[in-house]
Structure formats: structure tokens, C-alpha cells
Subunit: 376 residues, 3 copies
Amino acid sequence: MQDGTDWSAWPLYNSAETGFRNYWYPTVWAHQVQEKPVPITLAGERVVLIRDGDTVRGLHDRCPHRGVPLSEGRRQFPGTISCAYHGWTFGLKTGKLDAVITDGPDSPICGKLSVATYPVEERLGMLWVYIGEVAAGEEPPPVERDIPAELTENTLVLGGRTEVRKGNWRFAAENGFDEGHAKYLHNTALWRLFKVMPTWNKTRIVEKDGWLVRVQDELHYEAEFPGVGTFTNKRWWKRVPLPDHPDKNGDANPVISAMDIPGFVSVRMPGLLRVAYPKFIHYEWYVPVDADHVRYVQLMVRFETGATALAFKAKYLAAFRWLFHGQFTRQDAWMVNVTDAPPERLYRPDLSINAWRRHVEQLAPVVQPTERRVGH
Amino acid sequence: MQDGTDWSAWPLYNSAETGFRNYWYPTVWAHQVQEKPVPITLAGERVVLIRDGDTVRGLHDRCPHRGVPLSEGRRQFPGTISCAYHGWTFGLKTGKLDAVITDGPDSPICGKLSVATYPVEERLGMLWVYIGEVAAGEEPPPVERDIPAELTENTLVLGGRTEVRKGNWRFAAENGFDEGHAKYLHNTALWRLFKVMPTWNKTRIVEKDGWLVRVQDELHYEAEFPGVGTFTNKRWWKRVPLPDHPDKNGDANPVISAMDIPGFVSVRMPGLLRVAYPKFIHYEWYVPVDADHVRYVQLMVRFETGATALAFKAKYLAAFRWLFHGQFTRQDAWMVNVTDAPPERLYRPDLSINAWRRHVEQLAPVVQPTERRVGH
Amino acid sequence: MQDGTDWSAWPLYNSAETGFRNYWYPTVWAHQVQEKPVPITLAGERVVLIRDGDTVRGLHDRCPHRGVPLSEGRRQFPGTISCAYHGWTFGLKTGKLDAVITDGPDSPICGKLSVATYPVEERLGMLWVYIGEVAAGEEPPPVERDIPAELTENTLVLGGRTEVRKGNWRFAAENGFDEGHAKYLHNTALWRLFKVMPTWNKTRIVEKDGWLVRVQDELHYEAEFPGVGTFTNKRWWKRVPLPDHPDKNGDANPVISAMDIPGFVSVRMPGLLRVAYPKFIHYEWYVPVDADHVRYVQLMVRFETGATALAFKAKYLAAFRWLFHGQFTRQDAWMVNVTDAPPERLYRPDLSINAWRRHVEQLAPVVQPTERRVGH
């Protein structure tokens, strides 16, 4: 295991403090963007989301005139946003300067400039924003490229949270795929009353269809540490899961069982974790905000319809939402916030972290943000 | 219109982040300085204002011994201020070290050093402070040089506010003289229920007696913007002003009518705006504090005496104070705070801003602050 | 007297922004460290204090794995602390990695690394921490080296406070030994109702047994400053002390009278002030925290037993604690916080400060903090 005084072994990863461009990222719920423009920061860029009837548009959140955020502006005319300061009025779809109220209808600057626009799509109830270069006359890749197919090809019911937390997105992603921490850190979470975890494992990382997957060769639910003591994650009121799948109980959801992503925990670019419980899947996106903040988008998905779906939704709102997407993952956020590396000393389970870093290093697009999009 | 990636076209203006020296600036009301020394920051310098009977003195707010602010000190002996730490006692008029309590009457340092003093005058109920070099045995220019003569040569009644707001003084001054913004930004201000403004103008800037004046050649109260919609600033309950003077109603104050500064809005160094309403004049000083703060000194003046004056004072306190010097100009302060330029893209009405920048560039004194006055 | 634009005359002192290593420093009361680990910062290093039965251990407050503070950790097994994140478990005495819960009993990293430990001793009810290099197999100097012998060789009763205040430790130490300020600054403290001080003195500094001592050749309780006025520190209800010792009242405590440190006020490395009142001694440690914070450890000690000791303890808690260790020394802390030097202009009484700087410069150990101990 490498002894890291820095991250120079992964130069692209090392420099990706504010994330990678040329990806679709989930942001806020579609219903959160109504009358009022919603400013967000995504991969270091300031974007304003504005509802235009049934669709939502994304614009660079900076009026080119004097730098005032467009999110402070007014919805004066249909299909436009007007800067609060001088009434510069931009088309939401094109970003073009369509009118300048305080310069009259013959304003010579009108039609001569634009603010950058960002492709926005609505999927799974969320707004997905594409951060990247789209040449004139071209289209961005379809949003489906960056959403697991199982989520768009199946009937499903979901519950979720989206919230910005302190810490860098890479610490959040490493925490997510980290083989080691969950068994110890979350030992005190209420969620673990219902969910048994091992104390330590032997693990391999395999790659399949763009996912990195943690495969466990050995599971140990209890261990005796010489000279120190015994640690157990067993719960007398819970059965220890069968050895071939740590969470298989025999009555797993048939859609999940049929999926071809193996294993319990997997991760893929640009920072999406997938945890396959027998009856539902938990997804977690680590969306880069700026160097010190990361947006956690957490979805819990069940592939059911009718009464089963309704029951799951009720259970989510009543319990899972605060037990799992609240208390449990806030323990992660606590650690992400106080992690301070490099320097670091890695140990055996960190093969998962190193595999992730190598994976990113191979796939990362070498793209620099353009000057005109970067806010001040 | 220039496309500004930076302000290198106006090098003096560009470097005047904390304002210009060799001017008198209005600061706080005279009645605000009583027993307790009052510390202010002016053009980046820390000044303490101390009342000495009928006059107020200004001293550099830093004891030269160990750097403790004199504004923390004690008024131990008449005509002096004593540093709270060791009783170094400075004459308020001269700044000279007159006694050192804890070193005895034969203290050898006594009389050997001084803190810098700042000329202070009281005019219009305010304390005016001169920031600049005054050679030994010389006097600063008279304060009247930096106050419009109409304010010292006429009988008048006034109401006003002085307060420090966020943002750089240059954004505040540009906002003040800006031809474009008021018609749109203040469209929502209550003050505008009583005051009709055009939607867009054609404007020239002329210079007269040291003032830059905005002269309007065309006024448009309503406009149709192709493909976007109609914008109007008309109010059905208010008459649109006569074309030769946007605010002339026929019964203007004779003193104002006779003044030889033409036009509605004018500006002069070092950052004074004048808005001539038919019956009163509104003045606004943008006094530099530090790079991120500006003191707004707002005065509303009527050239009347007796009952008319009293009625105006009552109206000011009851309405104008919060409608105009409050809500209306706080909209300006909001924009000044979020303006983030350069880079900037200027448009036709910004000829007013560019004229102001050129004006400053020509008149600005090339003076660097002396080392000993600059606080830490 | 030197006119200081900088402190380059004392290069070691100048660079000792976070204090000196290779000393024992008092920190918190022993009773303040119970179940919960207590993080402190000492001379710029992050240290966690952890109770292990009757003793308290000090460890570098950073898990070497991913930089998470060990003070966030859990007391899982006797004699150890486990990092909250992955259960890396360190022996409190050795700092050695004794077990890694999430890597199983055969973890290859186990026993291969350590966190730095800090010697901790309990004296006078406080925890003393040694910041410095201790080579393998060697011991740090005995804590008694850095505690005045009079405090370990006599029976005594004490009261005290330990608290972190704003400001650099050097300003605090200079303020402590400063000949000049107390007579003026504390003129308004309630403590001074009972304690008469001169207005100005003639003073020499002598060195004795590692202490710098202020010796007064002349005392003046009142003075007339020409053209300014009269200043007096006399109190009509208090007798002015005898001239040979400013605080001797004839009935001094015999232990204090017999001590061979002369004078009322003395100071020694690494920043300990001693003020010998006739019946008790006040000690004040200026413990460096970081560049902007200093820990004041104040002890008031009486060398008595039985009823006299009890009465003193009661008096301390009822009065001295807030009068002297509260209001009086908070006036010092106020000045320490606003002192802003260099540049500075020194005066006659500052011979005490300059003597202290020279003293430090001669004795200061030239030691750089090691990389691995410095937190991030």
C-alpha cells in the first residue's frame, strides 16, 4: 500500500478540486424551481435555474454588463430574465440579449451578446445540468449516458434528498466507495439496528460495464484483537446474512436480482455510488460544488408498482429518510468534513480508494473550464 | 462603447480603491461626537474624532508607542487624549505628546513626537475631515472648496442620513451618475409612486463649473420591445413632466431655478451627486472607507425658511427619510454590493459612467498616502 | 531607547510567533479531562489529552490514516483511543497502532506506525505538557525544571484560572513584565481599591537565578505634569507602602520573605510572570496557542495550611477570582488584543520589555518543529 505524502500519482484527480466537466450532474428537485430563479454552484460555476413553463433553463448566473447575478433579476417578460440593475433582458433558451429596457427598442447592443446556457433535463424528478463544452449547432450527450440504465428502463418508486454539505467532493466519493469505514463509523447509527455489517472483510475490486465493484472474498462479523479486545458487529436479534451475498435474504426483488452489476457496492464516474440492498437500491451522487462543498444527492429506489410501491414511499418518508439519508449519511458527512489528506497512510481496505483514483485517472476528460463561464 | 476586460484605460481611477487624498469629506453628524472618542475609517486611514469643547479634533487613531487605538483612550486632562495602555497624553490640537503619565514629569520622550492630526470643520451639521498633506505652517484649502456654494450661501433646511454600506466607493459613484439603472431598478420603489421616470432617454454629458451634467435630448416614458413586450414607467395618477425639464412643474423653488448648474443630475469630485428636484435638491456623497465599504452621506435640502421649512423637515422625518434615503437608495446599495466588474460590457447609457471616469482621471491628484498615517 | 520599525534586533524572538519548543507548559486543570478526549493547541501543535485511569496521556491530534482528529474518536478498548472513521486504535502510552478494527487481527499495518506522544505530568492540579524532541529511549527533562521550586517544595494553597484569550503570547508576556502600564491602565480596576500603586518609578532590571527582576530605585505616587495636570494613584483610605518594598507591610508571610527571588515582579522563560505580594504570590503563564491566541494560566498561591489556607481559598473564590484574575487581568488581555507592533516607539520604562527580549534571545532554544507533528 502506497504511503502518500501527496496525490501526484493521480495528477488529473489531484487537480480536479472542483470536479470534472463534460458530465450531467443531478442538482435540485424539479419542483424546487418555480417562480423564483434558483442559483446553484456546480463544478465551480455559478448557474441560475429558471422555470419557463414546463421546462427549466440554465444560464450563467452573471450579467455580462456589470457582473450582477441574474438570479437577483425579474421575470418581466415571457421566456426571458431581466437583470435587476438595468433591465438587460436575456432569452432563457438561447441566452441571447433580446432587449435592453433602459436603452430603448433601438439599442445597438441588443442581439449582439449572450450569456452561456447550460443544458438542463428533468429525470427522476430532478434537474440534471450538463457542465461542458457544446459546440455551436451540436448537442450534448444524452442525459441517459450519465444515469444508470436500470433507473430509466424500469418502473420504480423513489424517495430522496439533495443537500449541500461541507467538504471536497473527492473525500465524499472516497468515503462512499471506501471498504473500511462503514463497519466502524456507522456502528452507532440507528440504521444499523436493522442492517448487520461485518467487522472486517477481504475484498477485491473488479471492473464491470464502467462500474468499479467491491467483491468480498471473506466476511468476518466479529474479531478478537490480541492485547486489545473483541469487536463485534453482530446483533442478537438479526440473522447474519448468507455468505455468498452479504445482503441476500432469499426474497430479493427480481429486478435487482436480474441486474448485471454484481456486488453490493459499486461506483462510477463522475462520482456515483450504488448500494444494492436485496429489495431496494441506494444511489448517492457526490456532485462537486466548489473546493469546500459537495452536493449529496441520495436516492432510494424500489422497482415495484401499486400497493408495494406506496408502502415503500410511506416507509421512506416515515423512517428511511431520517434514519438512512439523515443520521447515517450525516456520519459520513462529518468525516468528509474533517478528513485532511494528503499526507495519508493507506491500509489494506484502501485498495478500494486507490482503485477509484486509478479509474478516475483513466477516464477523466482533460478539459479546462473556459474563461467566460467561470464566475467571480 | 468600450468592451472592458479591465480598467487600464483609467489608471488613476483603477488604483484609487480607497479613494483620493487632498479632499474634504463629510463623515458623521457633529452631535454624534460627544464625550466618547469616535473612530472612523476614511480613505483607508484610521481617524479618531474627539470633541474639545465647541470644536472637534481629528487624530490618527494609533498610539505610536505600541499601536493601541487612541479611540480606546481616556479623556484625562483638558484638551488631550491619553492612551489607555500607558497614559501617553497627546494634545488634541497639535497631536504632540504633552505628557507621559507613567514616565514622570521629566520624561525625555515628552514633546519629542506627535500623532498626525486631521483638519476638521463643522458645516451643515456634519463633521468634514481633510485627508491630505498639509505642510508645516500651511493651511489646508478651505472646506468651502469642497462644498457646493449653493449650500453655504443660501438659507436652507435639511434632513439627511450618514451610514456605511458594503461595496467600493467607485461602484457607488458610478451607480449615482449612471444614466441607465434608476428607471428600471427603482421601478419597484415606493418613492416612484410620486415620482415619474422615463423608460429610456437619449442623453449627453456636459461639463459646467466642475460638474458633469446629464442632459437629456429625448425622453421616452414607455416603449415596445419587439418580440419581448411593453415596458412603461407611466403612472395613471401622475402627470408626465414637461419635456424641457423632466421635473419642472411650473412652481419650482426660485433659488433652485436661479442656480446655474443645469440639468437634473450632476456629479463632481471627489464623489458628490446632485439631483435637482423642482423644490428641493438631493445630495449624495460616496465617501471612501476602505476597499469594501463606502459611507453614504445623503442630504435633502430645501431653500426655505419659516413654516415652509418646518413643514419640509416634518415631511422629511415622516416620509422622505425612509422612502427615499431608506428604501430607494438601499436598492442602489444592494446593486453596488453585488456589482462585480471588470470585466464588463458597457452600453449606450454608460457614456455617463465613462464620462465620470475620464473626469476623475483628469482631475485626480497624484498623491500617495504617507507611511506614517496608514494604520495597520 | 530604540526606535523600532521591526524586531530584527531579536531574530529568534521575532520568529517565535507560536512560542518555543523544549519546555513544559501548563494547560488545563486535571479534573477537566475525564471520559471525553480534550483537544488543545499548544505552540501551534494540535494535542489531544486523554485520561487513562489515574494518568493523562497526550497524543498528536491527527490520525495518520486520513488526517481525522483523534479527539473525535471513541474509547473502545482500555488504554487506547480509536479513530472514529476506521477504528485505527492507538495505545495511549506509546502512540503505537495496536489494532485496526476494520482490517482484522492480521492487519499488516498494525504495530508499524505510531502517532507522536507528548509527555504529560500533573502538578498543582494542572496538566503540564512537554512540547519538544525526546529521542528514542530518552526522557524529557523533569517537569520541575520548568516550575519554580518554591511551588513544589512548600506546602501551599492555591486558586486559579486557565483560559485562552486573543492576542499573541509575546504581547501577553511583554504586558506582564512591562514596567509602565499597570499604574495607568489598571487605575480603574476595582482591585486597585485595595492595592496602591505608584504613578511612575525609576527602575532597573537585574537577573537572578534565571529570573529577570524589576528593581525600583524611586517610587512616585503622585505627579504634576506641566501644562497638563496632576495624576495620583494615592488612595486616602490606604497607607502608601514603605519605600524599601512597595508592598511590604511588616507582616509578610515568612515563606515569601525568605525566598531568594528579590523584588515585586519577575519573569522567566518560557513566559512565566511572578508577582510577590506580601502574603501571597501571583503567577501568570503566557502559554502560546497559535499566532493569535494565548492561554493565560493564572495561579494565586498562599504558603499556609489549616484555617488560614481555608480562609484564603474562600476569599479567592469569593473575590480574588473575579477581581484580580477576572476584571484586572482582562484589562491586560484587552490591551494585548489591540497591541499592533512593530512599528513601535519605546520609552524609558520599556527597558523592562527590552531586557525580556534580550533574555529570550540568549536562552531561546534554536529548534524547529518537526514536520510530522505539525497539524493542518
